[in-house]
Structures are given as structure tokens and as C-alpha cells.
């Protein structure tokens, strides 16, 4: 029951009663349960989420109101509808992301393929081997350089491997489609335990046949000579080189290089840190056999920018996030995890929560289907949802009342059109920021700011003392403005060109950009003059100062245009009426879904076990510990009284006094700690448990605490004490 309730938990402001009732919640279980199952399949946070849900208090639902069955059915209808819309929207976003990633990799992939083709040709041209020669056990005697193994180091430029697992999968598929024989090994195959035999076996199983059990390279050689296999190169992909056992990988390289003439093998190694990482793990002998080329994948930040651009700035699904959510996602990406996978995961959670929280989110369907007018969707709206729509904060803020109900389609149309000038402006700033290597992620986050704090950098005072004043060093807009002054005429003109093409569809901004052209011409004219070789020095310096003047005028004008764009067209999503339909804002929900804090959860749950168990006996216990509580819970509560070491004997004694009521066993009084004396007489056990069983229970509970990572077993130095490892903050 609990899982569904927290997600179906309505917004406090929402007045749709259908969500506030127990009955409705029960009816809602099925769709929401499905919703969650679908999402948790791919997410490691699923368990975390489950814990969070358990914790969420259910009493809120207790205030039930009687509802007509009609609304009940409506609620269910809409929740299934929202689930469906979520699936459409998310699949659209997901496809967009996949396309972007494929594009970003395609250049490297074709580069790798070309390299394989070239090298393979060079191998083949050096002379073909006959069948008998190629399968002989002794080496072909030729140039010593023939023992070189062609190797591609693919730099993934990210410490975490998660993003690139699929990249290497794709690379394998790409090469396979080009006719290469491809096998993929991971660090699992290179374990020291199985030795080189293990990875050879893995290779043969992928190349030759899945039932093979001997790790013999000669099999590979004979296979390669059969059925025209030798017309294509053999490619081995090792996706996480750093994690491999170095000695095993070295052995494999040495073996394969012995056979390199007979079986031209191309090794593709994914390197996640520096390009010299192989030198750290491979032996010198193996290193010297590698003839390495380097390929660089786009960095996570670059991919991130491409994904952002495609999902939020180009027309995609219509779904967007608020400033705070964007900031959270940014800091999560930069500080915590740094993988695109987790960013996409965050986005998916945000999207999912948006659909489960916002009844009007069904309207998003029409944003996905470009040809459809949003007006048609309003047919679906019932009275309740309409009421909800006009209670949205952004609507009440803008003083739009029910009377303008028929204008809703118009607003929605605006909403659909709205991101366009905004995203054009963001992209323009991104263009300008590229000279300073600014990331789109930063620009995106800053420009989403609903209060538009970035505008203050245009105030005359800010420009005047920009050098001395340290404030806003991290502000993107400010950095763009400052960088503008250092740009060369060539850079300026390229900036102008890209702006022109970006704004082509939006005439108001385009006009402004066009106005810059005369200034650019002036700059260019001034720039050409000192190029004359005959000009005397004095003249040159004068024309130089002229160039500077023109440049200054140009940059001033550009910053004026930027300011114009920001002021006039940068309407952040959150300021537009009805933005709640598109925009996910609840950063706390997202954060708790994503981060979960499992350790803190364990600790607080142990202390508050009754709120989970909901048993009658413990419900009114207050701060006292009762024998009916769970042993682990009792022990952990007792441990709170100690500092970082706990005397086992004391601990046991106080545990015992909890379990055995004082009046039935008076002699344990002497040993009890002060805390346990508070115990009340109220709950009397029918008969006290035996000493042995108490000891057993104690041991088991201590063990459970140890497994939960809360305490550490006694050390040799202090055999009587356990150490507390975790402290509640």
C-alpha cells in the first residue's frame, strides 16, 4: 500500500479531491504501481526509493472525504492516461538523447573503422600465407616488426565507465556491420584467477563457437583460415582497460602478438583516465608489442551540452525543468556522479514525478505531436482539472480568472511557442561563450533563473568596476561579456555569422543582429590598414588605436544586443502562466528520490522501528524501550548512550534488563545502566526468557548491527569493546 500512496500524494495546493481519498488511492494503486515498476527496472535507486516510500507517513490519507464514484473513475482514467502520456514523452526524450549520443560517437567510430581498414590492407599487402603456413605452430619468420599488435586506445575521458559501456557496445555493432569479426572482453574476463586461459576461452567462444572449452590460440588460427573468414580483420574490444588485471592482459597481448602475422588482430582498448594508463598496468614486453593509435571520444561535458541542447532547447517533448531543479541536476552531475547515465536517470525521475504529481501534465502529449493543436486536448478536461488549472500559482499570480476560461487554448498555444525565442537567446549566448569554453549546462542553469539576476551585470556600475569587484566571478553572462572584449576581429565575425543563422527564424532578434554588420565592417576596415607593409611606424600605431576604438564600439554594441535579447526575450519558463503543465519544479522530491541516504535511513528506522511495524504494543511507548521491540532496534537504541566504544558487558546487561522486567528479576538491578531504569512496569512479559536465549538474541542483534555497518567487532587490543562506526548526524 505504502508505495503507491507517497507517489500519488497530491500537491498540498491541489484541490482535486479524487486524489485525497483512501478509496481513490486504492483505485490508483494499479497504474502507479506499474509506473514504478517500469521505472525501477533500470534504476539502481529503486531500493532507495522503496525505503523513502516506506517512511512517508500514511496518516495524511486518513482524513477521507466521501466522493462520488464518478470522480473515482475519472481519477483512474486520468492516471492511466498520464501514464500513457509519460511513456510517449519519455520515449521521445530518450530517442532524442540516443540520437545525440550516436551522432557524437559516429565520427570516432568511422575513424576506428578506417584505421582498421588501412592497417588490415597493409598487413595483407605484405604477403598472404598459405593454409598450412598459417596454422603451423611455429612462428612465421619475417620482420621483427611483424609482431606488433595494432591497438586503438579509445579515450573515454571519464573516470566512470558507465556511459561508455553502451558506446563500446555500439562500436562493436558498428564494426560488425562493416564485416569485422568482433569479440568483446571486459575486465571480468581478465581476472587473475582464471589467468590468460579465461580470456582466451572467452574470445574463442565469441569467435568460433560457444561450446569451446580449450583456451588454445591455434583454434583461432584454424578458424580464421576457414570459410573465407580471413578476408576480414579480427577485432577485440576491451572496454575497461584500467580494471583489467595487468599481468593477464599482458599475457594475452604477448600471445596474440606471436600470432599477429597469421591472424591480424586489432585490439581496441577503452581507457578511461589518461592515455598513458596502459603503461601503468602492462609489462614492458607487452607494451612494446603494441602499435598504438589514439582516438578520443567526446568528453562527458560536451555530450551533456549536446543532450541539453537537443532536449531542452530544440523542440523535443515540451517537458522542461525549473531553475532549482536545473541547479540541482547540474550540481549532481558535477559533484556527485559525473556520468551522463545518471543525468538521464535524473531526468527520467523528474519526468516521472512530474506526471505523477501534475494532473494537467497530460497536455504534454500535444507538444509531442507537433501537428496537433493543443486546443483539442482541452476536450479531455473535466471540471475538476479545470479548477485545478486555474488554481495554479502562475495563473493566480497573473490574475487570470475563470472568466477567461475559453482563452486556455490560446495560453497553451503561447506556451508551446514560448520556448523558441528563449532558446534562441540561450544558444546565442552559448555561441559567444564558446570562446571562453563555457559550458551550455552553466548557461542553461543561469538563464533559467526566474528572477533574472543576470541582468544586473548590465547596470553601468557593474561594468565600471568589473575589474576590481570580485562578485559574480562564476556568473556566466558576466564572463561572456568580459570575454567579448578580448575577441579578435575574426572571432567576432564568426560569432556574428553564427548568430545570424541562429536567429534566422526570429525576425525581431535577427534585425538587431543585422544592425551589427556596419560595425563589423568598420572593424574589418580598420583591421586591414596596419597590414600594409609600407606604413610607417607612427601611422601603424595610430591605425592600431583606431582598430581598438572600432573594436570597442563593436563589443559595446554586441553587449547591448545581448542585453536587449536578455531583457526582451529571455522569459524564463517559470514566469509564464500555466508553466506548471510543462515544468517540473519539485526539487526536494527529486533529491530524495535520487540520493536517498540509505545509511541515515537505516539508523533512523532502527530508532523508529514502531512507525514501520505499526504494532499496537509499541505505538504509545514514548522514549522507553520495551521488550516487545525488535532486538536489533533495542540494542541500537541502547548504543546511542555510549561514546565511540561500547563495553560489551554493559551493553549486554542493559539489554537483559530491558528484556526481563525488573520486578521479576531484581538482581540485575545492580548492573543496569541509568537509562534502562526508566522502563515502565506496564508491559510485563508472561515469563522471562532464559539466559541462554537472551545471549543468543544479543549475539544475533550485534551481528545484524555489524552487517548493517553500524558497529565494528572487538579488536585484539580491546577485546571487551565494540566500536561504533556510524553516528547519527
Amino acid at each position: 500500500m505504502a508505495p503507491s500512496t507517497s507517489v500519488a500524494d497530491p500537491q498540498p495546493s491541489s484541490t482535486t479531491d479524487s486524489f485525497n481519498s483512501n478509496a481513490a488511492a486504492e483505485n490508483d494503486i494499479r497504474p502507479f504501481f506499474v509506473l514504478h515498476k517500469a521505472s525501477s527496472g533500470s534504476k539502481p535507486t529503486a531500493t532507495v526509493k522503496a525505503k523513502r516510500r516506506i517512511e512517508s507517513p500514511s496518516p495524511k490519507l486518513a482524513k477521507k472525504s466521501e466522493i462520488e464514484s464518478v470522480e473515482e473513475e475519472d481519477g483512474q482514467f486520468f492516471s492511466t492516461l498520464r501514464l500513457k502520456v509519460f511513456e510517449t514523452v519519455w520515449s521521445k526524450i530518450e530517442n532524442t538523447i540516443q540520437d545525440v549520443l550516436r551522432d557524437s560517437n559516429s565520427k570516432v567510430f568511422s575513424g576506428v573503422h578506417n584505421w582498421i581498414c588501412e592497417s588490415f590492407e597493409s598487413v595483407r599487402s605484405s604477403g598472404a600465407l598459405s593454409l598450412s603456413e598459417a596454422v603451423r605452430s611455429y612462428p612465421v619468420l619475417s620482420q621483427p616488426s611483424s609482431k606488433q599488435l595494432f591497438t586503438a586506445l579509445v579515450l573515454t575521458r571519464n573516470l566512470e565507465m558507465v556511459d561508455d559501456l553502451s558506446t563500446f557496445e555500439d562500436l562493436g555493432l558498428h564494426l560488425k556491420s562493416q564485416g569485422c569479426h568482433v569479440a568483446k572482453l571486459s575486465s571480468m574476463d581478465f581476472s587473475a584467477k582464471n589467468g590468460v586461459g579465461g580470456c582466451l576461452r572467452g574470445l574463442l567462444r565469441q569467435f568460433v563457437m560457444p561450446t569451446i572449452d580449450v583456451a588454445d590460440v591455434t583454434v583461432l588460427a584454424s578458424w580464421y583460415r576457414e570459410n573465407g573468414n580471413h578476408k576480414n580483420p579480427v577485432v577485440i574490444i576491451v572496454d575497461d582497460t584500467e580494471r583489467c588485471s595487468g599481468s593477464v592482459l599482458s599475457d594475452l597481448i604477448l600471445i596474440l602478438s606471436e600470432w599477429a602475422v597469421k591472424v591480424p588482430i586489432f585490439l581496441i582498448m577503452g581507457v578511461s583516465t589518461a592515455h598513458d594508463a596502459p603503461r601503468k598496468i602492462l609489462s614492458a614486453n607487452a607494451l612494446q608489442r603494441l602499435c598504438a593509435s589514439r582516438f578520443t571520444l567526446s568528453s562527458p561535458a560536451e555530450r551533456m551540452d549536446a543532450v541539453l541542447e537537443a532536449v531542452f532547447l530544440k523542440p523535443c517533448s515540451g517537458f522542461t525543468v525549473s531553475h532549482k531543479v536545473a541547479l540541482f541536476m547540474r550540481s549532481y552531475f558535477l559533484c556527485q556522479d559525473g556520468t551522463l547515465t545518471s543525468f538521464v536517470k535524473t531526468l527520467k525521475i523528474a519526468c516521472l514525478q512530474h506526471f505523477s504529481l501534475e494532473p494537467l501534465s497530460i497536455m504534454l502529449e500535444h507538444f509531442c505531436q507537433d501537428n496537433q493543436l493543443p486546443g483539442e486536448g482541452t476536450g479531455l478536461l473535466t471540471e475538476a482539472t479545470m479548477k485545478h488549472a486555474f488554481d495554479l500559482p502562475s495563473v493566480t499570480r497573473n490574475k487570470i480568472t475563470r472568466s477567461t476560461c475559453e482563452m486556455l487554448p490560446q495560453f497553451l498555444l503561447d506556451l508551446q511557442r514560448m520556448p523558441n525565442p528563449w532558446s534562441i537567446v540561450v544558444l546565442c549566448i552559448y555561441e559567444a561563450g564558446k570562446f571562453d569554453k563555457l559550458r551550455l549546462l552553466d548557461i542553461f542553469c543561469e538563464t533559467l533563473d526566474p528572477e533574472a539576476r543576470y541582468l544586473k551585470y548590465f547596470a553601468p556600475s557593474a561594468i565600471l568596476n568589473s575589474q576590481s569587484h570580485v562578485s559574480g566571478r562564476n556568473s556566466v553572462i558576466r564572463r561572456v561579456l568580459r570575454k567579448l572584449r578580448d575577441l579578435s576581429p575574426a572571432q567576432l565575425s564568426s560569432l556574428l555569422k553564427s548568430w545570424e543563422s541562429l536567429t534566422a527564424e526570429f525576425s525581431e532578434i535577427n534585425e538587431k543582429v543585422m544592425e551589427l554588420h556596419p560595425f563589423m565592417r568598420n572593424v574589418e576596415a580598420a583591421g586591414q590598414r596596419p597590414g600594409l607593409p609600407t606604413s610607417p611606424k607612427k601611422h601603424a600605431s595610430r591605425s592600431h588605436s583606431k582598430l581598438e576604438k572600432e573594436l570597442k564600439a563593436m563589443t559595446d554594441k554586441i553587449s547591448a544586443v545581448i542585453e536587449f535579447m536578455l531583457r526582451e526575450y529571455m522569459k524564463p519558463v517559470e514566469t509564464v502562466p500555466f508553466n506548471e503543465i510543462l515544468c517540473f519544479k519539485n526539487v526536494d522530491k527529486l533529491q530524495s528520490a535520487l540520493l536517498g541516504d540509505p545509511r541515515g535511513r537505516i539508523q533512523s528506522d532502527l530508532l523508529e522501528s514502531h512507525s514501520i511495524l505499526n504494532c499496537l504494543c509499541c505505538s504509545q511507548r514514548g522514549t522507553t524501550l520495551l521488550p516487545s521491540m525488535h532486538d536489533t532496534s533495542i540494542l541500537y537504541a541502547l548504543a546511542q548512550e555510549h561514546a565511540d566504544v561500547i563495553n560489551l558487558h554493559d551493553w549486554y546487561q542493559s539489554f537483559k534488563t530491558i528484556l526481563i522486567p525488573r520486578n521479576s528479576k531484581a538482581k540485575s538491578k545492580s548492573k543496569t545502566t541509568s537509562k534502562s531504569k526508566k522502563r515502565k512496569e506496564r508491559c510485563e512479559e508472561p515469563e522471562p526468557p532464559a539466559e541462554a536465549s537472551i545471549q543468543a538474541r544479543f549475539c544475533r542483534a550485534v551481528m545484524e548491527l555489524q552487517i548493517a555497518g553500524l558497529i565494528r567487532m572487538p579488536s585484539k587490543r580491546r577485546p571487551d569493546f565494540v566500536q561504533r562506526v556510524a553516528f547519527s548526524s
Binding site: 575513424g111 578506417n114 604477403g127 598472404a128 598459405s130 593454409l131 603456413e133 605452430s137 611455429y138 612462428p139 619468420l141 619475417s142 586506445l153 579515450l155 575521458r157 571519464n158 573516470l159 589467468g195 590468460v196 586461459g197 563457437m209 580449450v214 583456451a215 588454445d216 591455434t218 578458424w223 576457414e226 575497461d240 584500467e242 600471445i255 606471436e258 583516465t273 589518461a274 592515455h275 598513458d276 594508463a277 603503461r279 612494446q288 602499435c291 593509435s293 589514439r294 582516438f295 578520443t296 532549482k324 540541482f328 559533484c335 556527485q336 556522479d337 559525473g338 539576476r453 570580485v470 562578485s471 559574480g472 556568473s475 540520493l595 536517498g596 541516504d597 552487517i707 565494528r712 567487532m713
Partner: protein, 528 residues
């Protein structure tokens, strides 16, 4: 092992001409395998061309031929030993080309288990070839040395029988088969390697078949294998490293423009000889260097005069030293998007410390960076100083005081410094790592926070969150740092918490990381 290029001219002309005619890569060879396949199967080369194709190996070749003996004379086991890349394998194989006798070759590099080694030998003797029709299986399954002896006996006698019966048309192959086992030294590393080694050395006395000659090739001298187990020691033939002059002859062998190449060798070979004499290594580095040498030349067939030589040398000189240190070179691809073009990797970074140091060319999350620095500090600083380094006042003042006190005993300090270098990075428990991490992460955050305070609340919200949540994924980050070989883990039971970590990061890298965070790493490093 690989002194092959010398033999190339003669061999190519014979083997490849014959192979072209019978070049039939179809799965089913037109003729069933015969005993003749155990020889090289082509005209033998003369002794003179054999000797001339291996400069500096004259005595070894003659020794070997003498030890193998004339046709059909039983021979004692022979062991060839010497450093890698001194031509052992090539010489043996070419000697058998010259003698044109049947042999079986197995390399312990390729056959990495006893079973593979045994089966490979048997397959060759039984003229069995693995193919898809027999499921790539061996002729016989053989795991144990005792089985191997029996099977080998059977196989040998059948081979010898056919050798006897077939009076081969023109060539005399004799009635003996030779067994060549390469890379014998690798057996030592195997599971139960010592036992297999003993078995191999005593094989001839166990087998008692004079028809089998045994030749072992090893990288290690024979003394390391001998144990008084009562078998006859094999006769040793030593392959010493090449001298500079011999290397010169080897490299000159196949060059088109010998004059130009010899001028190149004049300047390039000597410095390289001091580093390595392995033909394999030399040939890769020399070939790339030669390409650079020839770069200014339009016509590669000219014979250089003194003046030209001098100019070419001055052109080459800067490359030699950098080339000397490199073990592993990575060349960028033109379509890589990386405009820096071909870049050389040096074994030491000394020569490229300039701009390389500034940038960190892969992505790490901020908390992973802090963790990396924390691990570095924990490995370098003594644990006793942690309290003073990371107290509320910041490490700076304390450290100065400490330095003054220790200045009296300079000598002692130097000794300790050297000792620390010898010891390498120290190990630390996870708790210490996390404690340091929290200290430095909070320092980093607060410095960020100060800046933003002036700014207003703008980004404070974002950063607050991040410092709150910093800890949640930290253990994950620790494990991914371990995966990337930045830290290594030692210890046994994960429940005990007794795992100790050790940072494997160079100071360069950690400085780079610290710079990217603008974290004052040097302030926190304790220098003895």
C-alpha cells in the same frame, strides 16, 4: 628469437614462391597431410647462406648442427639459452630448414597449460589439424605427463614407421623426429610448473626412444632448472647479446639505400645500444627514427656526403633523446579531432612538464577529485600529523613551527626523506580517508561559499545541497577510484573494516587535480 629479417631475403624467395603456387586457403586442403609436412617442405638452404643470414651467430649455428649430429644419429637433449631477441628461435628453425629434417615445434607462450602443450605436440605428430569438421578438438585428450609419455610413444613409433617405409623421392629426411619446445622458462610460472619442467628435462631418459631429439629454448640459463633428479643435463648452447657491430649488420641487411642507412646508424645506433640490444625493440624505434631522419630528403636513393650527413644529424638530434626514453608510443589519428597530431609519450614526463601539467584531460566529479586528493594526502602525510594539519586554523601555521624545530637535524631529515622515497606511499584505513576528505571538502566548499556570500543568495542554494549530499555516494566513488587504479586496496574481510588503502597517484596528477579545484594542496603536504 627474432633475427628473422636477415633470413628474409633467402627465405622469401624460396618459401613464398612455393606458397604462391599452392596458395589454396580453402578449408579443405587438396592433399591429406603427410609426414613431409613436419619438415619445412621446401628446398633446404645451404650452410653458407644460413651463416650469412645470421651475423654474429656463426659459432652457435655450427655448435647446434654439431650437437644435432649427422642424419639418423641419436642426439642428447640440447638447451638453447640467452636473452630475448637474440635469435634463438630463428636460428633453430633455419637450421632445420637447412637440415631438412622433420620436427615438431611448440611454444609454451601459446600453449599456456600442460594440456595444451602435450596436445599440441601430439597433434603435430599425428598430423591432426583442428577444423570446424572435428569441432576444433585435439587428436587425443591428454592431461597428465604419464599419459603423454604413452601417447607420445605410440605417435612417435607410427611416425618413425612411415618415415622408414616411405623412401621419399629425392630428399632424405632420416628416421628421426625432433621436438622443439620454446619459451621453456614460462613453465616455471605455471601451476605445478616445477613438476612439468622436471618431466620435460627427463623426457628423453623416460622415453628411451633414440628416434626423438629434444631441443629446448629458454630465456633463462640452464642452471635454474637443474635439480639432482638423475637425468642427463641437456647440452647448453649460449646465445649472447649482439654487439653493436653485429646489430649494425643486421639492420643493414634489408635496406634499399645502404649508404644512407649506414649514415643513419652511425649516429643513431650507439646511443640506443646503451639502452637496449634487443633487435625487436631497436627495430621499432629505429624505423620511426629513420623516417624522421629522411624527412628533409626528397630523394631517398641518394648517397649522402659529409655535409648532408651533418645537417641530417643536427636535424635528428633532438628526437634521439626523446626516443630513447619511450617504451610506448601512441599516435593520434588525423580524424581524431585532436589537432595536436602525433604525440610522443615519454617514459618520464620530465621533458614535457610545460603545458601538459595544466590540464586534466579526463572528467572526474568534484567529490571524486577531493577524494583523490584526500587519498594522496593520507598516503603522503604521517597519520600523527593529521590533527594539526586539518584543525580549524588550517595547516599553515602549525607546519611552519614544526619546520623550524626540525631544522637542527638536517642530516636526519635527509635520511628520513630517502627512506620515505624507498617506502613509497603509505597505506591508510578508510576512516582516515573519509575524515581527511570531509576536512578538505568542507574547506573547499567554504571558500566557494564566501565568494557567493558577496554575490547574494544566487548559487548558494545549489552549493548547500551539494555539500549536504556529498557523503551519500562517497563509497561508490572510492570503489571507482580503486577501479581506475588510483587507489589500491589491501585486506581481507569487508565486514571487519580492516581494509587499508594506498594511493597510487603521482604528485603531478594530484597537483593537476588540485589545480582544477583551486585547492591549495601544497599547503597540506608535509615535507620532511
Amino acid at each position: 628469437m627474432t633475427r628473422e629479417e636477415s633470413s628474409k631475403v633467402t627465405r622469401r624467395s624460396t618459401r613464398f614462391s612455393s606458397s604462391v603456387t599452392s596458395d589454396n586457403p580453402e578449408p579443405n586442403p587438396s592433399h591429406p597431410p603427410t609426414v613431409a609436412d613436419l619438415t619445412f617442405g621446401e628446398e633446404s638452404i645451404t650452410l653458407d647462406s644460413l651463416l650469412s643470414s645470421f651475423p654474429g651467430r656463426r659459432s652457435q649455428i655450427l655448435d647446434l648442427i654439431r650437437l644435432i649430429g649427422p642424419l639418423d644419429s641419436p642426439a642428447l637433449p640440447v638447451i638453447l639459452y640467452g636473452h630475448a631477441s637474440t635469435g634463438k628461435t630463428s636460428v633453430v628453425l633455419q637450421v632445420f630448414t637447412h637440415l631438412n629434417r622433420p620436427f615438431v615445434y611448440s611454444s609454451c607462450r601459446t600453449c599456456c597449460t600442460p594440456r595444451l602443450l602435450f596436445e599440441s605436440i601430439l597433434n603435430q605428430l599425428l598430423l591432426h589439424s583442428k577444423c570446424s569438421s572435428n569441432g576444433y578438438a585435439s587428436a587425443k585428450r591428454c592431461d597428465k605427463p604419464s599419459d603423454f609419455v604413452n601417447l607420445l610413444k605410440e605417435a612417435l613409433s607410427s611416425v618413425v614407421e612411415t618415415l622408414n617405409s616411405t623412401k621419399l623421392e629425392k630428399k632424405l629426411m632420416g628416421k628421426m623426429v625432433y621436438l622443439i619446445v620454446d619459451h621453456v622458462d614460462l613453465i616455471k610460472e605455471w601451476d605445478k610448473g616445477a613438476m612439468i619442467l622436471q618431466f620435460l628435462f627427463s623426457l628423453s631418459s623416460v622415453l628411451k626412444m633414440p628416434q626423438l631429439g629434444i631441443i629446448l629454448i629458454s630465456g633463462l640459463p640452464p642452471d635454474v632448472y637443474y635439480s639432482n633428479m638423475g637425468y642427463t643435463d641437456p647440452l647448453p648452447v649460449y646465445f649472447p647479446e649482439y654487439s653493436e657491430e653485429e646489430l649494425r649488420q643486421i639492420f643493414l641487411k634489408n635496406q634499399v639505400n645502404k649508404k644512407l642507412y649506414s649514415a643513419f646508424l652511425d649516429v643513431a645506433l650507439r646511443p640506443f645500444c646503451r639502452v637496449t640490444r634487443r633487435v625487436e625493440e631497436l627495430s621499432t624505434s629505429l624505423s620511426s627514427l629513420f623516417r624522421q631522419y629522411c624527412e628533409p630528403l626528397d630523394d631517398l636513393s641518394i648517397s649522402p656526403n659529409e655535409d648532408l650527413k651533418r645537417r641530417l644529424y643536427s636535424n635528428l638530434r633532438p628526437h634521439i633523446t626523446s626516443c630513447l626514453n619511450e617504451v610506448f608510443r601512441v599516435s593520434g589519428r588525423p580524424h581524431d579531432g585532436d589537432t595536436r597530431g602525433e604525440r610522443r609519450q615519454k617514459a618520464s614526463y620530465s621533458s614535457e612538464k610545460g603545458d601538459e601539467l595544466e590540464i586534466l584531460d579526463f572528467h572526474m566529479s568534484t567529490s571524486a577529485k577531493y577524494l583523490l586528493i584526500a587519498a594522496f594526502l593520507a598516503s603522503r602525510n604521517p597519520a600523527t600529523l593529521d590533527a594539526s594539519m586539518f584543525d580549524s586554523t588550517g595547516g599553515m601555521d602549525n607546519r611552519k613551527r614544526k619546520r623550524k624545530a626540525s631544522e637542527k637535524s638536517m642530516e636526519k631529515k635527509e635520511m628520513a626523506e630517502q627512506e620515505a622515497v624507498m617506502k613509497g606511499p603509505g597505506s591508510f584505513p578508510l576512516e582516515r580517508l573519509l575524515a581527511i576528505f570531509q576536512c578538505i571538502a568542507s574547506v573547499g566548499d567554504s571558500s566557494l561559499g564566501e565568494e557567493e556570500d558577496e554575490e547574494g543568495e544566487e548559487e548558494a542554494t545549489g552549493y548547500d545541497k551539494e555539500s549536504n549530499n556529498m557523503m551519500s555516494d562517497i563509497l561508490l566513488q572510492v570503489s571507482s577510484l580503486c577501479d581506475a587504479n588510483f587507489m589500491i586496496k589491501s585486506g581481507s574481510c569487508p565486514l571487519e573494516g580492516s581494509i587499508r588503502y594506498r594511493s597510487m597517484v603521482s604528485e603531478d596528477l594530484s597537483l593537476k587535480v588540485a589545480r582544477s579545484l583551486s585547492f591549495p594542496l601544497s599547503k597540506y603536504l608535509y615535507r620532511r
